[in-house]
Symmetry: C2
Subunit: 665 residues, 2 copies
């Protein structure tokens, strides 16, 4: 059930679900309410008056008995039960949000969760990469004493019409005991067998299957897969029920390799040290073990229920996972060992949480810096199937972009660094509890509105928070187009620090860390470099194909953001192109989407190979045009205003409004 909330005095309305938090509703409406503690209810700054409508609210010590009776509430502790009219008192207000003809910040807000249970690729059906076949066999007799394996294969043929099965030696080692202790009633796990060139075979009755495991009894109702996105900074994973395609749990953990470098280049350098490659392999594997452990624990599942893993990672991550040499990825002319890699056993690479009968399918990559993660994303998002010209971007440490449709695909990688994942940012963090994900600022008082994941005490800033902060500081004329703090603003929240000037998002007393949470000029520089590299990538890719932003039918954004991202704010800082928000789509973690898809439909395996082959890689690292474009993009939003017409118009008008208000006050 939906309700409309109208915020006074600016008469800005927003429609939200029943039970929504009022602070969230304000954030979504683009309405500022001072809020210093992230929404945990302790700062008492987000006081509003409920003029009409029904709400459910806690009585807190920040509001006197009398005021409570008059309808005063703390927005962060209030949820709406009907249409409401809410007045924000002057002390808590910001400026009325500017809306231009082409740019309305409130419309730029998107919840990633709106899309992430729906796969975007078409034409697939539930026909999983690993199947379980419960089989009852007649015990051997002197008249019928064929080998255990022959008996078993005959059972699969007769009871499941499954032919063309190879047994792995590991499976043979456990087979006799399992057959006999289970009274010849067992369940086979069969996995699509890789054919030549490491291609997995398409879906037809005669395609070969590997018998990878036998379990006693009928275990066919426990047939799970793990989808893995092995990022440079973050490992994301989901547990997928192969019976119905349901995602049972999702987890993310930092890639423990991070301690040996923020990006793939520093990892490769470390891998060249003695034992370095081995160490990095064991670190990524221990991260994977942890995340799998958490998935199993969260769902109360046994490790025996996991039948296979599909993993998507960039080329370096895939190489390090498999223990392959990475140095030639880094050295010109940037050559990986292999684009398509063989299926391996989980235990062979150290994933010891799972029994040794689980195979890992790694997505094929395109080039040294366009990896299996992007191939997986293109698969999952269905870009390769659509007529529409799509720009696909995966905003991780590596910043990979793809341009194309069902007829052609071009791709490029622009080394963004981990800034939007919180790396190299003083108080950067993943979108975990306490991460600032929403931000707004009163341009006159410079008081912030901060909202954290889980409404916990602020601990740091996640990706969507960083976009918000940068864009709001720019809109409110707190930083200039070069990303520097404007020096003559009088606020104790702006102060010089070790990393240039900084803005205090949350004071120590309200933070969960006991320290002030800040954003520094160095943080802002890192974010600008990251977005600059990505945007220069867009331009180079489009130009090399004689296209412009206007030719794009769709923009798909994948990557490790928080749950919210505001497109208009992304445009404001020059991260996204200045085209209508309607053309943008979020798919959350695109790599996981593709990994899930191959798990659910094995006919998608050769499609992944086809995508990898179909993509033309545009090498940016030695491209002079790219370097020019990168330098031009180190500005907010960009040195060339013509590239951001609507944003420029908005920022100009907004800047005048802020100046007026500051003079008035």
């Amino acid at each position: 059930m939906k309700h409309t909330i109208t915020f006074k005095p600016d008469n800005v309305s927003v429609t939200v679900s029943k039970g929504s938090n009022l602070l969230d509703a304000a954030l979504e409406a683009g309405v500022h309410i001072n809020a210093s503690c992230g929404g945990q209810g302790v700062c008492g700054k987000c006081r509003v008056v409920i003029e009409e409508g029904e709400v459910d609210s806690e009585k807190t010590e920040n509001i006197s008995e009398k005021k409570y009776d008059q309808g005063w509430r703390q927005a962060c502790r209030t949820s709406v039960l009907s249409d409401c009219t809410v007045r924000i008192p002057d002390e808590s207000r910001g400026l009325r949000r500017l809306v231009t003809q082409k740019l309305d910040i409130a419309k730029g807000e998107r919840k990633i969760s709106a899309l992430d249970t729906k796969l975007l690729a078409e034409g697939w059906r539930l026909d999983p990469i690993a199947i379980k076949a419960p089989t009852r066999l007649a015990p051997p007799t002197l008249q019928d004493n064929v080998s255990d394996l022959s008996r078993f294969l005959a059972g699969l043929r007769q009871q499941h019409q499954i032919e063309n099965v190879s047994a792995d030696i590991r499976c043979l080692k456990t087979m006799p005991e399992i057959l006999r202790t289970s009274d010849w009633h067992v369940t086979a796990t069969l996995m699509a067998a890789p054919a030549a060139n490491n291609l997995l075979s398409p879906d037809d009755k005669t395609s070969p299957l590997n018998l990878v495991r036998i379990q006693g009894g009928d275990t066919s109702d426990e047939n799970f897969a793990i989808g893995l996105d092995i990022g440079t900074t973050t490992i994301c994973a989901e547990l997928i029920d192969l019976k119905n395609g349901r995602v049972m749990a999702e987890r993310a953990e930092y890639n423990r390799q991070v301690k040996y470098g923020d990006d793939v280049i520093t990892r490769i350098v470390y891998a060249q040290q003695p034992e370095g490659r081995k160490k990095l392999q064991s670190l990524v594997v221990s991260s994977i073990n942890q995340v799998i452990d958490e998935l199993l624990e969260e769902t109360g599942s046994s490790e025996k229920s996991v039948s296979c893993i599909a993993a998507a990672g960039n080329t370096t991550m895939t190489h390090l996972l498999l223990g392959l040499e990475t140095r030639y990825i880094r050295e010109a002319p940037y050559v990986p060992v292999a684009s398509s890699v063989p299926v391996v056993w989980a235990r062979d690479i150290g994933i010891d949480l799972l029994p040794d009968c689980v195979q890992i399918h790694n997505f094929p990559s395109v080039a040294s810096y366009v990896g299996g993660d992007i191939v997986s994303g293109i698969l999952g998002s269905g870009v390769f199937q659509k007529k529409e010209l799509t720009l696909y971007m995966d905003i991780g440490t590596n910043g990979e972009i793809v341009l194309g449709n069902r007829d052609w695909l071009a791709c490029a990688a622009c080394s963004m660094g981990p800034a939007f994942e919180g790396g190299g940012i003083k108080h950067g963090m993943r979108a975990d509890q306490g991460a600032i994900e929403g931000f707004n600022i009163n341009p006159v008082t410079l008081e912030p509105m901060i909202v954290t994941v889980g409404r916990k005490g602020p601990r740091g800033i996640c990706g969507s928070g960083l976009i918000s902060i940068l864009s709001e500081l720019l809109s409110a004329c707190v930083i200039d187009r070069r990303g520097k703090f404007i020096r003559d603003l009088a606020s104790e929240r702006i102060r010089p620090g070790r990393f240039g000037h900084e803005y205090v998002l949350a004071w120590a007393e309200n933070s969960a860390t006991g320290h002030d949470i800040v954003i520094t000029e160095v943080d802002i520089e890192n974010l600008m470099r990251a977005k600059g590299a990505l945007f220069a990538g867009f331009l180079t890719l489009l130009e090399s194909l004689d296209l412009s932003f206007d030719d794009l039918d769709r923009v798909i954004i994948a990557g490790a953001f928080g749950r919210y991202i505001n497109l208009e704010k992304g445009k404001l800082i020059g991260l996204f192109p200045d085209i209508p928000v309607e053309k943008f789509h979020f798919i959350g973690n695109g790599s996981l989407l593709g990994a899930r898809l191959v798990c659910l439909c094995k006919a998608m395996l050769p499609e992944a190979e086809r995508i990898a082959r179909m993509m033309t890689n545009i090498e940016l690292s030695d491209n002079a045009s790219f370097m020019d474009k990168y330098m031009g993009a180190l500005f907010l939003p960009h040195t060339e205003a013509r590239l951001f017409p609507n944003v420029s118009e908005y920022l100009e008008a907004n800047s005048q409004m802020v100046s007026r208000e500051r003079k008035v006050s």
Copy 2:
């Protein structure tokens, strides 16, 4: 060049090659010359007089100057250079050999070496299981920076028209360094890839290949395979040049598992102990490592020249090699884990002499006691291709027999035990230097003629020696039909011992061990049990198919004998059926023959699978008819004289002759 040697006074002639040893010639002619030291030249008993012809002979201290001038020579130190007439003095003579119409001992002698370089299967061509493809690649550039693997596969396609190649992860681990240190000039080792059901694919252009190894430079002139026969008692191996099919060296070593039991049953019992299976695996692997080491050392070859291994073993040996459970092979209803087993990496099972890029193809088996060794033998001998009805026997520890032709094949296993390989025989040994391989006896003086492998001091008795000894002791009426020494013979060579009566083959002073070399009644019992089991197997198999010995077109004998075997002597003791010697063929080690064949022609791989499927196994172990026949066969040659008409006639006549001679003397 051939020469005819005529032995006086009996006027027995034999044709031998120029340079042949005179003692060997006498043995082949069935002429007895006393010889107590195995032919090493020290006992001085084998003195003969060269009456005509030219010989090359050492002057030894056993012959005086005067006698030497008269033409006296030691036979064992003399080789023939022309046609000769040789007189054996009375002191050295035996009886003239009896020849009946249907049985002539001298004609029963066969050298195995006469056949063993010629493969008997037809319709194959040199198209080896592993090929080497030297390839020159263009180094990568920024314009052409595909992965190392893609570049390599493109090179294989362009330079060798090889498609459909999968790379193994191990190969990818070494690929980048090898490509770069070898200046992009490398050699691929490609092996026929197993398809489903562990079948290796047939020979066509599109059949899949595994890229298993890359070596720097052009190493294509070193492409060797190792053929392995993994016997219960003996591991035989040969190094095969895949370029031309030549066998470069052969070796045999005891299977080190022997210390945990003589036959497969005792091994299986041991495997059930804690760590037992693991221990047996490591023992067979260490035996294989040793034999491979010897092959490489003998030929001065590097371990890098070995591209693959083809191994044939009985079902238990194959299971133990791969670390599979064996207990259900032993327990009724006798079920192996698998008949067709997957291709494995040599290093994965501990064959650490070879780099980790060598794969082992194990021959498929038929049943628990009809293994890959027999399938390999049927393949190698071409039985499955011929119209003629063939009885094939592999006389190893396991005693496997096959009956059939190109239309059908039936098989059975009769547990012979290792007696004919020297196991359970007091002075039994392999056909190594010093093994008594030829034997003859003077029925009156009971003085022996013994000839050893390499004419070294006697150290023991090998398989062909045991057959000779048993048959000669029987012919000379030294043992009776029950295998017991006749008690009233006056000779110090016959004496009571710990294992029943025994006959001294060589006195300590002439032996290489410093002890008397003997054959005991217990040894004879063991040999009779072994031959009894085999012969009962023949009868059961024939009877179950409503056939008799007369229906056989051919008999093929494979197995671990010495270099010589005398068919008539084998018939005399009831080891071989009493049919014309012309029907018999020796192929030496049949398992190695088949292993060599699949190495040389990969189209033979699916043929091996077809043979395994084609064979009907007749289970003997619980077969009452077999047990009856076994009891009947515990006699020399057999309780039923009608089964051995020619042998019975011969033995009768011979016995009368011996009686006469003994009375005369």
